[in-house]
C-alpha cells in the first residue's frame, strides 16, 4: 500500500506555516516585479472576499483586511523539507513527487504503526504539527493514492480493488494537476478541452470510455489517463536520497532593529526545526544562525561577517532538542555579540545528531541537567566573560600558568573510584595530610625587595597585607622554559614567610631574570 501526502494551496500553506497568526485572516500571495505584481494564490477566506489569482496588487489592496505576502522560495523550500520529514518519520521509502506532494511506501508498516486508517490519521496529524494542513490518501498503487489525495479532502483510505469506484467522482482536472512546465501545461489544457467537449466531467466517465476508440483519438496518452482514472496503473516509487538538511529561514519585509522582536521569530524557527528533528528522532549539537544585515558599513568589526552576513554558531556539548533552551542560548549569545545593524533575513540551520543515550545509575551521585547547565553557563559567561568559566585543562608544560579553560560538560565519563586512586595526583593527596595550596595573584604583584647578602630580608608591595620583614626563607629555585619561543621565561623562586605586625604569612616570590624585577606570585594558604 502507498500513502500520498498532499498540501493543497501550497504557496499559501508555506506562508501560513511561517506566520501562523495569519491563519484566520484572508491571505494572498504576490509574484512579479513591482509595480506589476499579481496575485498567484489565495486562501479560502480571501476567495470569499472576491480575491482571485490574476488580480493586480493595487486591485487586491482595495480589500483592507487582506494580508498580502510576496512569494518566498525560502519558505516554500522549508515547507517542502518539513513535508519530506513528515513522510520520512514513517517510512524510509519516500518519493519526492512535487513540492506539495509526497508519496510514501507503507509496505510492512501495519505491524509497526497500526492499521491503515491509523497510519493515515497519524500522517495527517504529524503534518499538522509541522504546520501544514495536508490531505492524506492511502491506496494500493501510488497514482491512485495521489489522485485521491488531490481530489478528496482529509484522510482517505481506499481498499484494494475499490479504486475505480472511489476515484470515479473526482473531477477530470485532477489528472492534469502536476504539469508544471509551460509546454506540458499547454498540452494538458488541450486534452482537458477535448474531454470537456466530449462531455467527460469526472473520472468515472473517462474510465467508461472504450479503450480502442480512446486510443484512436488520444493515442497512448489517452490510455494512460484512462488507466489512471480506473486506479489501475502500477509503477514503483522513485525513492529520494537527499542529505538531511535542517534549515529554516524568514525574509523580512521591514528590517528588525531590536533583539526582542528577533527572539519571537527565532522562537518560531526553532520550534519548526525542533519539530522536524524530532520527527526523525534526531537532536542537534550545533545551531548556525545567519543574519543578513542591512547596513554593511556599520557592522561590528569584531564579529564574524561574511558578505554582509552576521554568523553565530552555537556549539553544544551534548545533543539537545529543546527549543526554549536554544532560544535562551541564542538570546544570551546575541546579547553578548549584537549584530550591529538592522536584520533583513534570518536563516537558522541545525546540524543533526543522534540523541544521547545515557543510563543513569541508581547509586551514582546526582549531576546537573545538561540543558539547564548549558543555560547557566551561558548566563555566567555573559556576566564574567566567555573564557572565565569552564573546566580546567592542564597543559604539558612546566610553565607556572600552564593551563587553559575548556567547556564544562556535566556528563563526564563515570570512572571507577578505585581507578582514580591509582592516579599520581591522588597518590600525592593521601589521606593523612593535605597538599598545601597556593593562591595566585593574577596578575602577580610587583614588589620591592630589600636584599642582604643576595637574600631577601624585607618585602614591600602595593598591597598593604603583603609586606613585612622576612622571617623565614627558602630558595632560590631557578626555573626557565620556552627559550625557543618568543614567550621565553626564566626566574628564581623564593618561598618566604613574612611578618606583618602580629600576622605571619607564606608567599611565593619570584625574581624575573629576563624582564627584571621582583613579583609576589602567590600566597601559600
Amino acid at each position: 500500500m502507498f500513502a500520498c501526502i498532499y498540501v493543497p494551496n501550497f504557496l499559501v500553506a508555506a506562508a501560513l506555516r511561517a506566520e501562523p497568526e495569519l491563519k484566520p485572516r484572508p491571505v494572498a500571495i504576490l509574484e512579479g516585479k513591482p509595480p506589476l505584481e499579481t496575485i498567484i494564490a489565495v486562501n479560502e477566506n480571501a476567495s470569499r472576499l472576491g480575491i482571485a489569482p490574476g488580480m493586480t496588487k493595487s486591485q487586491a489592496e482595495l480589500c483592507t483586511e487582506l494580508a498580502l505576502r510576496p512569494r518566498s522560495p525560502l519558505q516554500e523550500s522549508s515547507a517542502h523539507a518539513a513535508l519530506l520529514d513528515c513522510a520520512q518519520s514513517f517510512s524510509p521509502c519516500v518519493e519526492d513527487t512535487t513540492c506539495d506532494t509526497v508519496l510514501v511506501d507503507l509496505a510492512g508498516m501495519e505491524s509497526l504503526l497500526g492499521s491503515l486508517p491509523e497510519i493515515s490519521r497519524a500522517l495527517c496529524d504529524r503534518a499538522a504539527v509541522l504546520g501544514l494542513n495536508a490531505n492524506v490518501a492511502v491506496a494500493s498503487n501510488p497514482d491512485a493514492a495521489l489522485l485521491a489525495a488531490r481530489g478528496l479532502f482529509g484522510v482517505t483510505v481506499i481498499p484494494s480493488g475499490d479504486e475505480a469506484a472511489r476515484l470515479g467522482s473526482l473531477p477530470i482536472k485532477v489528472l492534469f494537476a502536476n504539469q508544471l512546465d509551460e509546454e506540458e501545461k499547454k498540452q494538458s489544457d488541450l486534452r482537458l478541452e477535448t474531454l470537456a467537449r466530449w462531455g467527460i466531467r469526472d473520472l468515472r466517465a473517462l474510465a467508461a470510455l472504450p479503450k480502442v476508440s480512446l486510443s484512436e483519438r488520444l493515442g497512448q496518452e489517452g490510455l494512460r489517463l484512462q488507466q489512471l482514472a480506473r486506479g489501475a496503473t502500477s509503477r514503483t516509487l522513485v525513492p529520494m536520497e537527499e542529505p538531511m538538511l535542517f534549515e529554516e529561514s524568514i525574509e523580512l519585509e521591514h528590517p528588525i532593529v531590536l533583539l526582542e522582536p528577533l527572539a519571537f521569530l527565532l522562537n518560531r524557527l526553532l520550534e519548526q526545526l525542533c519539530t522536524r528533528l524530532g520527527s526523525r528522532a534526531l537532536c542537534t549539537q550545533e545551531l548556525r544562525l545567519t543574519l543578513d544585515l542591512e547596513n554593511f558599513s556599520l557592522f561590528n568589526q569584531q564579529s564574524k561577517i561574511n558578505n554582509q552576513q552576521f554568523v553565530r554558531t552555537l556549539r553544544l556539548p551534548l545533543p539537545m532538542l529543546d527549543p526554549k533552551v536554544f532560544l535562551k542560548l541564542l538570546q544570551l549569545d546575541l546579547n553578548a555579540h549584537p549584530p550591529g545593524a538592522p536584520i533583513l533575513k534570518i536563516h537558522l540551520a541545525a546540524e543533526p545528531a543522534r540523541p544521547r543515550s545515557a543510563q543513569g545509575g541508581l547509586f551514582l551521585p546526582p549531576s546537573p541537567e545538561p540543558e539547564k547547565m548549558e543555560l547557566t553557563l551561558a548566563r555566567i559567561a555573559g556576566m564574567v566573560g566567555e573564557n572565565k568559566v569552564g573546566a580546567l585543562e592542564l597543559l604539558d608544560t612546566h610553565h607556572p600558568e600552564g593551563f587553559r579553560m575548556q567547556r564544562f560538560v556535566a556528563e563526564a565519563p563515570q570512572t571507577n573510584p578505585r581507578e582514580t586512586n591509582t592516579d599520581s595526583a591522588s597518590d600525592l593527596a593521601d589521606e593523612t595530610s593535605a597538599v598545601t595550596a597556593l593562591r595566585r595573584f593574577r596578575p602577580p604583584l610587583r614588589a620591592n625587595v630589600t636584599l642582604e647578602n643576595n637574600q631577601p630580608v624585607h618585602l614591600a608591595c602595593r598591597k598593604k597585607e603583603v609586606q613585612g620583614d622576612v622571617l623565614w626563607k627558602a630558595g632560590p629555585w631557578r626555573f626557565s622554559g620556552d627559550w625557543w619561543e618568543r614567550e621565553a621565561w626564566s626566574r628564581d623562586e623564593w618561598d618566604l614567610a613574612l611578618r606583618n605586625g602580629e600576622t605571619i604569612s607564606f608567599y611565593r616570590v619570584v625574581r624575573d631574570l629576563l624582564g627584571g624585577g621582583w613579583f609576589v606570585e602567590g600566597m601559600y594558604d
Binding site: 551514582l364 551521585p365 546526582p366 549531576s367 546537573p368 541537567e369 543555560l375 547557566t376 553557563l377 548566563r379 555566567i380 556576566m383 564574567v384 566573560g385 572565565k388 573546566a391 580546567l392 592542564l394 597543559l395 600552564g402 593551563f403 579553560m405 564544562f408 560538560v409 563526564a412 570512572t415 573510584p417 582514580t420 600525592l428 593527596a429 595530610s433 593535605a434 597538599v435 598545601t436 595550596a437 597556593l438 595566585r440 593574577r442 596578575p443 602577580p444 604583584l445 620591592n448 602595593r462 622571617l471 623565614w472 626563607k473 627558602a474 630558595g475 632560590p476 614567550e487 621565561w489 614567610a497 605571619i504 604569612s505 607564606f506 624575573d512 629576563l514 613579583f519 601559600y524 594558604d525
Partner: protein, 309 residues
C-alpha cells in the same frame, strides 16, 4: 497542648477552670483542634548527612561536612583555608560528584588543584573579577605588560595621599563588582542544581566588602540547598553568614615553629636558604559552631607541599 488538656479533664470527670477559657479562645481565634499541632508531634528535622572533608583531622573534629547546609571556614592569610577547600573538592570529585568553585579573586592555582587530587573534569571554575586572558603565560613581554599598569598607578611610594584614596576607591568598587558576580553566579548554580559541592572563595575580599552581603542572601542560599545533597562551602577571612551557617570552622597558622626558627636565626645557628625547603604549614582548626551545639573544640593538623614527598 489543647488536646492534652481536654483529654485529661475528661478522664478526671471534672472540668478544669481554664477549659472554658480555652474554648472561648478557640471560638474567638477560629482555631480548630485539628489545626493545632502539639509540640511533641512536630517533625524533628533530620540530622544532615555528613561527608568526609578530605582532611581526617577535620572530620574527627566536626564529623565531616553537612549536606544541604552552609559551612563557613574562616581564617587569616596562610591559615590553610585554600588547602581545606582543595581537599574538600578532591574528596567530592573522588566520590563522583560535580563541584563548582566560584572564585571571587581568580586565585586558584591549577597545579595545586591537580596535586590535591581534584578530578579537573568534574570541577566548574568560575573566575570572577576583571577580564584577563585565560591561562595567559607569563613571559618576558607579557609579564611586564600585565604588571605594568598596576605598577604605574599603584606601586609608587612617593605618590600623594589623594592618589592612594583614588586607588582605594577603585579597589573597593572592584571588590563590590566581584562580590556581585559571585552572588549572582552562586544563585544561578544553586538554581541549576546537581552539584555535590559549591564553594564560594571570598578569602581575598576585604572583610568590609564581604560583610556587605545581606543576611537574607545567606538565608536564601540555605533555603535553596535545604533537602538537597549539595554542600555550600564559604571560605572567608571572618564569619559573615551568621546563624545561616550550620558549621563554622576557624583556621589559623601555628606560629610556634616559626618563632623558634627566628630565635635560631638570631643566634646564627641557621642553615643556608638553599638548604631549606618549604614543606608545609602547621594549622590549628577550631570548631566555633555546629548544629548540635557541642562545646567548642580544636584540633591541629599539618599540610605538606606537593614537592615535600
Amino acid at each position: 497542648m489543647s488536646s492534652a488538656v481536654v483529654s485529661t479533664s475528661a478522664a478526671l470527670g471534672r472540668p478544669f477552670a481554664f477549659d472554658g477559657e480555652i474554648s472561648a479562645i478557640k471560638k474567638q481565634s477560629k482555631i480548630t483542634p485539628a489545626s493545632v499541632i502539639p509540640a511533641s508531634r512536630l517533625e524533628i528535622r533530620p540530622a544532615p548527612e555528613m561527608v568526609p572533608s578530605g582532611i581526617p583531622a577535620i572530620d574527627a573534629l566536626t564529623g565531616g561536612l553537612p549536606r544541604g547546609c552552609l559551612t563557613e571556614i574562616c581564617g587569616p592569610a596562610s591559615s590553610g583555608r585554600t588547602t581545606m577547600l582543595l581537599a574538600a573538592l578532591a574528596a567530592a570529585t573522588r566520590r563522583g560528584e560535580f563541584c563548582a568553585l566560584i572564585d571571587a579573586s581568580d586565585a586558584l592555582d591549577p597545579q595545586s588543584a591537580f596535586a590535591a587530587g581534584i578530578e579537573l573534569d568534574r570541577l566548574l571554575w568560575v573566575r570572577c573579577g576583571e577580564e584577563t586572558q585565560p591561562g595567559c603565560p607569563i613571559s618576558r613581554t607579557s609579564f611586564a605588560r600585565e604588571v605594568g599598569k598596576a605598577s604605574q598607578s599603584a606601586f609608587d611610594f612617593d605618590r600623594t595621599r589623594w592618589k592612594e584614596n583614588v586607588i582605594g576607591e577603585k579597589a573597593s568598587r572592584h571588590s563590590e563588582h566581584r562580590l556581585e558576580q559571585v552572588l549572582r553566579a552562586t544563585d544561578l548554580l544553586l538554581e541549576s542544581g546537581g552539584f555535590g559541592l559549591i564553594v564560594l572563595d571570598l578569602s581575598d575580599l576585604p572583610p568590609q566588602a564581604a560583610r556587605r552581603v545581606p543576611l537574607t542572601t545567606w538565608f536564601r542560599y540555605r533555603r535553596t540547598i535545604e533537602h538537597t545533597p549539595t554542600i555550600l562551602l564559604a571560605i572567608e577571612q571572618h564569619p559573615i553568614a551568621g546563624s545561616c551557617s550550620s558549621l563554622l570552622l576557624k583556621l589559623d597558622l601555628l606560629k610556634n615553629e616559626l618563632l623558634k626558627n627566628e630565635a635560631l636565626h638570631a643566634t646564627q645557628i641557621f642553615r643556608p636558604t638553599h638548604a631549606q625547603l618549604f614543606t608545609g604549614l602547621d594549622i590549628s582548626a577550631e570548631l566555633i559552631s555546629r548544629l548540635d551545639r557541642k562545646p567548642a573544640r580544636s584540633v591541629a593538623f599539618a599540610t605538606k607541599t606537593a614537592w615535600a614527598g
